[in-house]
Symmetry: C2
Subunit: 282 residues, 2 copies
């Protein structure tokens, strides 16, 4: 199987690594607008060679679209215009509504599989690629009824090979759910980072006091802005709902704190402990 990876970062690079390892890809072509990343990806052995996009599309069985979600929405229609009639295009974007809409009326919509493997780290670029990144993680395919059986079969063979467990969901449902369990976590972490960096201007050496709890809570604030800003923007409606609920909970907590209402504080923290049940199930 000849596979083109457009976007040689954490996700694209990790997929390339695993597809080679599991012998699904016999030829791995890389495409990246960032020349330094393209070169790095070849040096790291993630892909065999770099080609211009049009050449790569012309000769590929599978095209993996692993670039920021705004770029996926912008490129996807013209990519479908250019591919052969047996080529399958799979995206891995963290939003699905606008991406699906961008090709909803396209003549080759059935050669596209809209996917979201929920995995990653706070690092980015080709050097962030990790073998086995997807093992045991959840993958969501949206609007699977709009993809041909053949396209789904090929996509599924790729997801199975890298160890993903695939489930199916409507695009809107997907966007709503990830707003809470992924996008909101990232926002809370980015803004916690900013709040503490802000105070650091006046209070030097404040970070000497930061324990491992702080590091874990702000880990996601290290994530790539070029990847996350478009995700937040594309999912602004559901993220806004999640964010307003989060702010409302913080304000309620602040109210109980100011009233020194021990009972309500205990109640809030005890409720939040319920997250243990959820995390331990996973």
């Amino acid at each position: 199987m000849k596979v083109t990876v457009i976007g040689l970062g954490l996700i694209g690079g990790s997929l390339a690594m695993d597809l080679r390892k599991h012998k699904l890809a016999t030829d791995l072509i890389g495409v990246d607008f960032n020349q330094a990343h393209a070169q790095q990806a070849v040096e790291l052995g993630l892909v065999d060679r770099i080609l211009p996009e049009d050449k790569a599309l012309a000769e590929s069985d599978v095209v993996l679209l692993t670039i920021p979600v705004n770029a996926i929405g912008a490129l996807l229609p013209t990519i479908l215009d250019q591919i052969g009639k047996n080529t399958v295009v799979i995206d891995t974007g963290s939003t699905k509504g606008l991406i699906c809409k961008s090709v909803s009326g396209h003549a080759r919509r059935n050669q596209f599989v809209a996917a979201h493997p929920i995995s990653g780290t706070e690092n980015s670029g080709p050097t962030a690629a990790l073998e086995g990144l997807f093992v045991g993680k959840t993958n969501i395919i949206c609007e699977h009824e709009k993809s041909s059986d053949q396209s789904l079969k090929i996509a599924q063979s790729i997801f199975d090979a890298v160890g993903l467990k695939t489930i199916f969901m409507e695009a809107e449902e997907h966007d709503k759910h990830v707003a809470y369990v992924s996008h909101l976590s990232h926002v809370s972490s980015f803004l916690l980072g900013q709040t503490v960096l802000d105070i650091e201007k006046d209070e030097k050496n404040i970070f000497d006091l930061a324990g491992s709890g702080f590091a874990s809570t702000v880990r996601l604030a290290k994530s790539s802005p070029a990847m996350w800003a478009p995700i937040f923007e594309q999912n602004s409606e559901y993220l806004s709902q999640a964010l307003l609920e989060y702010i409302m909970h913080l304000q309620k907590f602040h109210y109980h704190l100011m009233k020194k209402d021990s009972k309500e504080l205990m109640k809030t923290l005890t409720n939040a402990n319920g997250i243990r049940r959820v995390l331990e199930k996973k």
Copy 2:
């Protein structure tokens, strides 16, 4: 050295473990109002024996006070009343202002060392005790000028033995700094957990979609309410400031999100990335 540990949980248990290992404690006495915890601590070998508080105080060289901060504030004055003239009392509470105030006029204030080893996990109770928990972590001693040289020397020998790096700070300064780098992280995590649990009532299986990023951001929401509610309450003034700044940043982000202001979103996330510099220094 005969050491009494009052409060046989994560911190008390871990200190006992390390003091035995490094041969600083020749006799380890445990005190805990929770009889099940007391028994567990003996079974786990954290302490040699359990005594009622008054008996334990009467025969100890060092008393470690490793209980929730509200209990420290309440018990500390009567503990100082009961100890012999060479006994040193050390607390490990995460707030220092009110604890120091509770004994500011006490005749034996100089036999007390107010400390805060910044370490822990989200687990609690005797079974959460960990060997080596304190290695390389920061310890803060407040109002050291109010402790006698002899008390400080003994306390320092304990902190050095378990691997803590001790620094000195005023109690108010301590409380302000930890509000940002520790207490706020915990609040943001507890409330993120609550927000997502709340939405789960309507949206079943939402947690199938939670990746490792979510797990890391809500890890602290598993922490003990009995420990954290009193910390938040005792540090309510500084925590309130930190919390209001955090909410303000979240609201500003929400405003940019609603305006789909890509430039401002990118700017915010890029600023927050600065946390990488801080975390990598540590």
